[in-house]
Symmetry: none
Subunit: 136 residues, 2 copies
DNA sequence: CTAAGTGCAAAATGTTTGCATACTT
DNA sequence: AAGTATGCAAACATTTTGCACTTAG
């Protein structure tokens, strides 16, 4: 189900740079459009494939807002890898804000799911959707 | 954005009955298939439109698991409301299986996130990604 | 030289819409 | 009779795939 990229290509570089400097909510379509404007073109299949790789590698996150509109991608950044504590992500459905959360209770849930339900959660890909403090 | 049905039709009845007796995770496609097997056919547009109505009326819930796979629907009934035990979902990254979970610890997390982090999680949209028992 | 990535066009997927017909009230 | 629901087929939007070609290591 997952791919991880092994070669460093021009397309991957530009794509990643674009995501880094953007503030969330970037869709595959946005990427294609942006690159068309820039002159430096990139095939849409490449966009989709690279985005998938980057998600697999935990470099960006993918957000499903609702089934019909396109998926959004967002660069995660270094905040998460600083120490050994695991980072979970909360995404506000209203303002789109991404909240990084280091929290013991969340790590406990991880253990609980594994011990009791035999489900090995992948924190990198798991996103809690909801409404943030500011938007309530 | 929403419609609510005003007439009681044969199709709506059968559809609702099917959802009631099913245990979660019914897709629009499932409904169509089921009805084809039954002989009593139902148009797919009707299925989508009725499902939307039922969601609007708060009779069923809609779950978006990931953007590409079809949306799931579930009759709410008393099971979910009797206690306010909430359904969470786990999705296996390997086999794609969707696991339905009623779990106290998960409800605790919900409270914890709200009390301590002021984040009001939306369980309908939140999915835990990871690896299921069979795939480990 | 080999494995991996690219890009095009075509296919697949899930959902929505237009419209004539049929059913509920 | 008026308003609503149905069902077909066609339209849609997003994402995935097949395949020949290019590029990175």
């Amino acid at each position: 189900m997952g791919t991880q990229s092994k070669y460093k290509t021009k397309q991957r570089d530009i794509l990643l740079k674009y995501l880094q400097k953007s503030t969330g909510h970037i869709t595959a379509g946005d990427v294609c459009e942006y690159f068309k404007e820039q002159g430096s073109s990139i095939g849409q299949s490449t966009v989709y494939r690279q985005l998938e790789s980057l998600v697999d590698e935990g470099i960006i996150n993918k957000y499903i807002i609702d089934g019909t509109s396109p998926a959004c991608f967002e660069y995660i950044g270094d905040t998460c890898h600083a120490d050994d504590s695991i980072c979970f992500h909360c995404k506000c459905e209203k303002c789109g804000k991404l909240i990084h959360m280091h929290c013991d209770e969340l790590e406990e849930i991880q253990h609980h799911l594994y011990e009791e339900h035999h489900f090995k959660i992948n924190p990198m890909r798991t996103v809690f959707y909801g409404v943030c403090e500011d938007c309530q």
